[in-house]
């Protein structure tokens, strides 16, 4: 097993752990991360402190064993069939926590990965709304943004795919109770909305921790709106030696996570 003092954790591994931490306390739900780094993070959480979670193999089954990311041929221990139609049933049941990307996000957590520019004839057509409108009105969501900059953390998003706290405030009690943006994890820091703040003001994004080697000022500089800043901003936690072993040897032996970090 690797020892962290001999092989210090790199930024991508800190991000994996930050995503894993977003699932802490979730229990027996569908852990549904989208993308390489989020998938490693979700599988790490299940392999360590959230063993009750279920996860898809990215095709159509729930696999009970720990699969390496991006390996279509890895043998699956099938525990249930989960075709796309059943995924919607899980979404609407609320027993799901997704990790999605965001091309743009604002201070209240409004997310856009649909299009840049006027949606009638966008400057850049991106993924579209996908499942974001249904996800945000039904269950917990975490965002993963690998390039933290004023282009992605913006004062106003061009289009809202996933609604933030200000958009949800006037909606039904059901939606307000089920809507949750658990974390926003970037290559620089971890943000959250754990700041009820003033009674009539919707929640705003708060800086929760900065990754080792990153200063608070760097995060402020790279963010296009004012983050809520606690008096003390801790460092994001480092992976344990067990976690480093799992990330490097079991979950991502080919180092696919490095691609998102220019590696």
């Amino acid at each position: 097993m690797n020892h962290p003092t001999e092989f210090p954790a790199s930024r991508d591994e800190v991000c994996v752990v930050a995503i894993a931490e977003a699932f802490r306390g979730d229990g027996e739900i569908l852990c549904n991360p989208i993308g390489t780094t989020p998938i490693i993070g979700g599988r790490l959480a299940r392999a360590t402190f959230e063993p009750a979670m279920v996860m898809t193999d990215a095709v159509a089954v729930l696999a009970a064993n720990i699969l390496p990311v991006g390996d279509d041929d890895a043998e699956r221990l099938v525990e249930a069939w989960m075709p796309y139609r059943d995924v919607f049933d899980v979404v609407w049941s609320g027993r799901r926590h997704i990790v999605m990307g965001a091309s743009q996000i604002d201070a209240h957590g409004n997310q856009n990965f649909a299009a840049i520019g006027d949606w009638h004839r966008p400057k850049a057509q991106l993924l579209g709304l996908r499942g974001a409108p249904g996800n945000l009105t039904n269950h917990a969501t975490t965002y993963w943004i690998p390039h933290h900059s004023t282009r992605s953390f913006v004062p106003t998003v061009d289009l809202v795919s996933g609604p933030g706290y200000d958009r949800v405030a006037p909606l039904s009690a059901f939606i307000r109770a089920n809507h949750e943006i658990r974390r926003v994890v970037s290559n620089l820091a971890v943000m959250d909305f754990d700041n009820p703040g003033k009674p009539d003001a919707p929640r705003r994004m708060r800086l929760r921790s900065v990754h080792p080697g990153v200063t608070v000022d760097e995060v402020i500089e790279a963010t296009g709106f004012a983050l809520d800043l606690p008096d003390d901003v801790p460092e994001s936690r480092l992976p344990t030696s067990e976690e480093l072993h799992l990330i490097r040897e079991v979950l991502d032996p080919r180092g696919l996570r490095k691609a998102e970090f220019g590696g």
């Binding site: 796309y84 919607f88 850049a124 579209g128 709304l129 499942g131 249904g134 945000l136 609604p163 039904s172």
Partner: protein, 287 residues
């Protein structure tokens, strides 16, 4: 039937549902038959893959109604992106789950199904025709919840591709996911089903369990035997996606000459048989 027999039953201006999901088990031989036909002004309804890009680039599409458009291994469908950025097609973009409810309402012949998907997001802004309904039932806190009413899709025809079917139209999928193909069949006035292989009714259980025969013939109006009919999309367990071919297709969005060559060689192939012959000769060349 042949692909061209199906096209003869379709007309310009129709709303056509297309089964599959992204670049998975798409009825591509039927899509190509539309591509080489005179049909135009179509509204296509789908969990979109290359059929949206191809038919949009050829000017066949007036409106696309979709839950997403993607080539899976290539997340953004380049011809669809181009059509959106040039403004050459109208779109009805719905949340993926909301799209399912539109199909389900169509299949069940009710005007709409309610959902919370879309409230708070710009799905409502993008679809000014979408209405909300108020629940007639009081909820726990004494209020009446407002929900989005996803209108039933009215499909003049649906096209789906199955692994197997019998001559009467009983359709069978052998892969990991049916997607929503049974609902496309049920929501349409007429459904044309292509398949890898037509087998006798008594042979349907030879390759798959009872649970795989998901489209009964009462929802099917014509069967086309179309081996490799989903190419270049995947059709497991019969074959996977032709990633090299898909990359070639995707690259044509940036190069008008390459696109014209792709149209001439692949989309204008006069029949599916000829398409397969051209495909096999390519393989021969590269081998």
């Amino acid at each position: 039937m042949t692909e061209d027999d199906v096209i003869a039953r379709l007309s310009s201006g129709m709303t056509i549902g297309i089964g599959g999901w992204g670049s998975r088990r798409k009825p591509m031989s039927l899509v190509r038959a539309i591509a080489r036909s005179n049909l135009t002004d179509l509204t296509i309804v789908c969990y979109g893959g290359p059929e949206v890009g191809i038919l949009s680039a050829l000017g066949k599409v007036r409106r696309a109604i979709y839950g997403f458009v993607s080539l899976d291994s290539i997340p953004l469908e380049p011809h669809f992106r181009q059509a959106r950025q040039l403004g050459t097609i109208e779109v009805t973009e719905l949340d993926e789950g909301a799209f399912y409810l539109g199909l389900l309402a169509g299949a069940h012949r009710v005007p709409f199904y309610p959902t919370r998907a879309g409230l708070g997001s710009d799905m409502m802004l993008m679809n000014p025709g979408l209405a909300t309904v108020t629940s007639p039932y009081v909820d726990a806190d004494g209020s009446y919840e407002e929900l989005v009413a996803i209108p039933a899709f009215q499909l003049d025809a649906s096209l789906v591709h199955m692994n197997r079917a019998d001559p009467a139209g009983n359709g069978q999928f052998l892969g990991p996911d049916l997607y929503f193909d049974d609902l496309f069949a049920k929501a349409a006035s007429a459904t044309y089903l292509s398949c890898e292989k037509v087998v006798e009714t008594g042979e349907l259980l030879d390759e798959g369990s009872l649970h795989t025969i998901k489209i009964p013939r009462i929802f099917v109006d014509g069967v086309v035997e179309s081996p490799r009919g989903a190419h270049f999309t995947e059709c497991p367990p019969d074959y996977g996606r032709d990633e090299a071919f898909q990359r070639t297709y995707a690259a044509t969005a940036k190069d008008p000459d390459a696109w014209q060559a792709f149209v001439d060689r692949w989309l204008e192939a006069p029949s599916h048989t000829e398409y397969l012959a051209r495909l096999d000769s390519e393989v021969g060349k590269s081998a």
